[in-house]
């Protein structure tokens, strides 16, 4: 039972503790959005997690999220249509939630 239990999350579904993140947790959060994670999703998730580790922040807005993906993975993936298809809604927010990163402050 313990291994299947979801770690503590806030009212918008973001993990309270980043270290609770596992690929299983990611898949469970994604399933809540009716998303089945494919290689394309994992590429972005891993990118976001390494971006966070390197810069100690998530891209602070959707547009900067797109810019950062474009810088790292090229224009085919760093565009809002591609990211919107993978992570519907607000891609930066949806992707951060699945990647186990903090809730963005909607700052920009």
């Amino acid at each position: 039972m313990v291994s299947n239990a979801m770690p503590e999350r806030n009212n918008e579904g973001f993990l309270e503790n980043a270290q609770d993140w596992t690929e299983t947790v990611a898949a469970t959060i994604a399933a809540e959005d009716e998303l089945e994670l494919t290689e394309k999703h994992w590429e972005i998730i891993q990118f976001l997690r390494s971006f966070y580790k390197e810069h100690e922040m998530s891209p602070p807005s959707n547009r900067l999220f797109v810019k950062a993906v474009k810088e790292a993975l090229g224009e085919d993936k760093g565009n809002s249509i591609y990211l919107m298809q993978l992570f519907p809604g607000t891609p930066a927010k949806t992707a951060c939630r699945i990647a186990g990163l903090p809730r963005p402050t909607n700052c920009l």
Partner: protein, 138 residues
Amino acid sequence: MAETASVTFTLVITGAPYSSQAPQTALGFAQAAVDAGHRIDRVFLYGDGVHLASALCAPPSDETNWSEAWSQFLADHSVPGVACIASALRRGLVNETEQKRYELPAANLRAPFEIAGLGEWVEGRIKSTRTLYFHAGD
């Protein structure tokens, strides 16, 4: 110099009331700008400046209540007053939406102030004839 009728200002206040002179200087400027027939496009509170939007300031009755004075000015002249959301959340200033989102015990944003992102500052800075900043002094 631009035509008087089309002159607009965005004012950014970064100093808090009672720990800086920024809100009163900004109000003096805003009043003079309006008196001269100019328009204030918006007032953006940033950093410690967000404290100006608190509904819970209660200074002694023989001192100016700067939050109240600013609210009055914004209402009288239909000027949007926007507190930066990131600055506000860090400093304990929230409206009811953010109160619910972060499950906080109370909301304390004074009308007619609103909470929004830095995009409001960027837009003001692009649209206005001049964007002026009112910082804390020493």
